[in-house]
Symmetry: C2
Subunit: 166 residues, 2 copies
DNA sequence: CCTATGTTGTTGTGCTCTCAACTACTAGGG
DNA sequence: CCCTAGTAGTTGAGAGCACAACAACATAGG
């Protein structure tokens, strides 16, 4: 118990600020998307990943990985998005177990409509408050945390090759 | 539309890494607390704030603010925590509308039991992956983001007095 | 071919959260 | 005193999520 690796004062303040800031940020993004586009952030991400895929089409497990969702969560999400007509399910000839999720034209239109407001929110809530040089540090921190928590999701940064001195 | 302030490549990569890392971090913390202590992170925070208050007692609205919850969320949470016997409601003599939430002995015991594992998770998932100097930067970033999104929650950093040169 | 094991995806249950509506009270101004 | 605003807190309905159980299929080894 008392031999636990407790947080010192600086770590404690940092953790509480990070927790409060993250919560405020994600709640506001969710609220903005729900209000202006009728979807939560998690669904927006699903549409984004599909829109970046060849033929707007991905296997469920791959989409789940890219969108940072569990299989269960994605399955529920696709059910909902299909009801809205933004995504369609297609079965998979190569693998009898598999299924594809496909972005529809309506889904792409919804994404196109939602994007500007969402990006503006991300900018004003996250990037505008930052100082010079913070972006690079924040990126390195986030990638390190992600690599520690979910190595399978980390975007391998050119393994074996370091950026030049500058 | 096209005149929106889109993200450049560095910002895009930073945002996606931050999003993925935060999600992975909070989901793992939630999972760990739920598994080992039978409560989600949000409830843990309620218990923490109560345990730090005089007489383990806070007005609902103040507890909501400190725990970063809406009134509604806190009310539901306290209902649940009261069912578990970890928190009790007391009415407020000074204000007929008001109510106090009070931490019980059982609640404190639950918190005491949950704390070491939770702190260990925070350390291993967030602080261990950081490099020297990252904590200070992360703290500044988090406080800036919080101040932008929720000025009412920001922990005013000695207003009017800057730290010395070093 | 047949079986054992792993993978893919879905579903149902229960919990937490949001949102809006509501009650009950306080505070301030005529 | 009365009336109007504003504040404190609760509630109910609906949405998203985690978890575990499950069905269907693939794959590898004999």
């Amino acid at each position: 118990m008392s031999d636990a690796r407790w947080l010192d004062e600086e770590e404690q303040a940092t953790w509480r600020a990070f927790l409060a800031a993250s919560r405020a940020l994600f709640e506001e993004l969710d609220r903005q998307l729900q209000r202006d586009a009728g979807m939560p952030l998690a669904y927006y991400e699903v549409l984004v990943r599909l829109s970046e895929a060849p033929d707007w089409r991905l296997r469920m497990h791959e989409l789940a990985r890219l969108a940072g969702a569990s299989r269960s969560r994605l399955s529920h999400a696709v059910t909902r998005l299909a009801e809205q007509g933004w995504v369609a399910r297609r079965d998979c000839p190569e693998d009898g177990r598999g299924a594809y999720a496909v972005l529809t034209e309506d889904g792409f239109a919804a994404l196109r409509t939602a994007a500007p407001g969402h990006v503006e929110s991300v900018r004003s809530l996250l990037f505008d408050p930052l100082e010079d040089g913070d972006v690079a540090v924040l990126r390195r921190i986030a990638e390190a945390v992600l690599a520690a928590a979910r190595p399978d999701l980390a975007p391998l940064r050119q393994p074996g090759r370091e950026p030049p001195i500058a």
